[in-house]
Amino acid sequence: MRELLRKPIWPLVALLLLNLAVTPSFFAVRVQDGRLYGSLVDILHNGAPLALTALGMTLVIATRGIDLSVGAVVAIAGAVACSWIAASPDPASPGAALTGIVLALGLAVVLGAWNGFLVARLGIQPIIATLVLMTAGRGLAQLVTDGQIVTVNNDTFSGISGSALFTVPVTVVVAAAVYALVALVTRRTALGTLVEAVGINPEASRLAGVRSRSIVWTVYVFSALCAAVAGLMISANVHAADANNAGLWLELDAILAVVIGGTSLAGGRYSIAGTLLGALTIQALTTTIYSVGIPPEVSLVFKAVVVILVFLAQAPKVRALLARRRRGGSGPPPAAPTTPAAPAPAAETTGSGR
């Protein structure tokens, strides 16, 4: 039971099987107008923005941080791109779309650097530092769109979401590419190891000469970039920028995806594959709720239940309780000090948090 819950793949498999039981044609995939269609494709397509945001969030959390501003960045990116396109002399031209996209991504870098500045330079707690942009960001997006829903009819821009590459939706291709890129970069460079080192033991990393400030800065910029790409996907999907609702609560889903994927909020070891699974699980949950015929609004209740179960299964305290149960109270817990020569009693607390 415990083993199953620890593997983040099981909730997803269970959800997919449930769907198959309810809708036998669930796994069916067909090609129409040069693009793949089907429930599975939908999960990937609709889950791409979440998967991307969660990816950026993973690296932030690995450094003991958190980024609450990603939802706001999603809104800003869509707003900037769409407003630029709508205001350009030829709103249908590819040039306008490309400039808009570059603008949005560039602004995201600035916003990410801002978060990094507050966290790495001023030393403000990440949760508070990013709360500032979370609150103000959506207002900024509305400022850009003047409070309107800005619709654009630009094939290049809509192509971000609507078109397909070798029948695969571009959203899925982009998300997959970014995941592959991050997997490659963290493996081919030392970024992954150093991010983990900073998250696991900041003091030891400092004494080993790791430039943790620039690393923290990097992950916040990357997180904002991921959110911006997600924002472009979301607004391209509806051919419009909705500053009010685009990416609403996305930061919470992203954090959830990361944690369901097995990365601890305490920082340190992270799992990119786990995050991908977590994001797909959340998307599959939403899809399942549709396909099983539950009113979609109730999906939040299910989401809450899943979150609670996953967290209870992961909580060390609960595991300890379960383990004690299983042993049936036979004898004291095995005291297995990994460092036999260290007579440090457990009650010695290092002054943490101060």
Binding site: I66, L118, L122, G123, I124, Q125, I127, I128, A129, L131, V132, L133, M134, T135, A136, G137, R138, G139, L140, A141, Q142, L143, D146, G147, A243, L252, I255, L256, V259, L265, P295, E297, V298, S299, L300, V301, F302, K303, A304, V305, V307, I308, F311, L312, A315, P316, K317, V318, T349, R354
Partner: protein
């Protein structure tokens, strides 16, 4: 220059822990004065009272949130619990329940909801952020389970409360909700400053380890603040119901952010241990003043309020950081 020096001297006289509240108060006075200079009818007692009337639910929420944040925790569920409370109240009234049992049930529900979250946070040692996030989803989802549509309220008691104006002479009036909010503030101040529970809340936020070694009831305080926050959310939900006379799943979306912002702007440290309920009330008044100015301005768009709130948050967070550094430097 002399004004600056003067201000520095005043700041030096005010104890550091009161400084953020004083700054917030000055900010409030400045904003209100600015509004009064710009708009003719702004500087009236009723505009001031309206700040309280229109934000009574937010005051109550901010009070509950202050308790939680003082222990170093956070409660993301409050907005959803407000919505759930409006839904429960509206649906029970629709089913023909009398008003008073409905109110009591809603309050008890909020307390139980908070108790559950607090127990998980303290006894299972899961981060408050995650637990209350799950609570947020759950409460919002339960709203939809009750009904997808808005439920309007025709109960005479609720309607009477909603429409009552308590005259204060000179053409001024307060709503019953505002009075309730003021009573809640008074009780909160009493509990925080006059009871052992209240002092334990501060001690836990200051240093949980020390509080434990001093033999204080840490568990009681940590779970207790979530019960208080849950109850305050339910009460705020009732006040919101009086305000809107309906229950709706989309009520109070994002209100937890307003509550947190009010608490932070009111000078309470998100790391816990330092802050005052009255500061949070001032924080709410500042937020309310921003709204009022925007509505007087007419042409200024509503999103400016978000941007201004974000800026204020930034200013206060940086201010707190500077103060924390300074006091750390002073004690070594």
């Amino acid at each position: 220059m002399t004004a600056l020096a003067e201000r520095a001297r005043v700041a030096a006289r005010v104890p550091t822990r009161f400084l953020p509240v004083v700054v917030t108060f000055a900010l409030f006075v400045l904003m209100f004065a600015g509004g009064s200079l710009r708009y003719d009818s702004f500087a009236s007692g009723q505009v001031l009272l309206n700040l309280l009337i229109d934000n009574s639910f937010l005051v109550v929420l901010a009070v509950g949130m202050t308790f939680v944040i003082l222990t170093g925790g956070i409660d993301l569920s409050v907005g959803s619990v407000v919505a759930l409370s409006t839904m429960v109240a509206a649906s029970l009234l629709r089913a023909g329940w009398p008003a008073v049992p409905v109110m009591l049930l809603v309050l008890a529900g909020g307390a139980v909801f908070g108790l559950a979250m607090g127990a998980v946070i303290h006894y299972l040692v899961i981060q408050p952020f995650i637990v209350t996030l799950a609570g947020m989803f759950l409460a919002r989802g339960l709203c939809y389970v009750i009904d997808l549509q808005s439920i309007s309220i025709s109960d005479p008691v609720f309607r009477t409360i909603a429409q009552t104006a308590i005259p204060l002479g000179d053409d001024l009036f307060l709503s019953p909700s505002a009075v309730v909010a003021l009573v809640v503030v008074a009780i909160a101040v009493y509990v925080l400053h006059m009871t052992r529970f209240g002092r334990t809340v501060y001690a836990v936020g200051g240093n949980q380890q020390s509080a434990m070694l001093m033999g204080l009831r840490v568990g009681q305080a940590k779970v207790g603040v979530y019960v208080i926050s849950g109850t305050c959310s339910a009460l705020a939900g009732l006040l919101f119901t009086f305000y809107m006379l309906s229950g709706y799943s989309l009520h109070a979306v994002g209100m937890e952010l307003d509550a947190i912002a009010a608490v932070v702007i009111g000078g309470t440290l998100l790391t816990g241990g330092s802050g005052f309920v009255l500061g949070s009330v001032l924080g709410v008044l500042v937020l309310g003043t921003i709204q009022t100015i925007l509505s007087f301005e007419g042409t200024l768009s509503s999103w400016w309020s978000r941007i201004v709130i974000g800026l204020l948050l930034l200013v206060f967070v940086v201010l707190q950081r500077v103060l924390a550094r300074r006091s750390a430097a002073a004690s070594t």
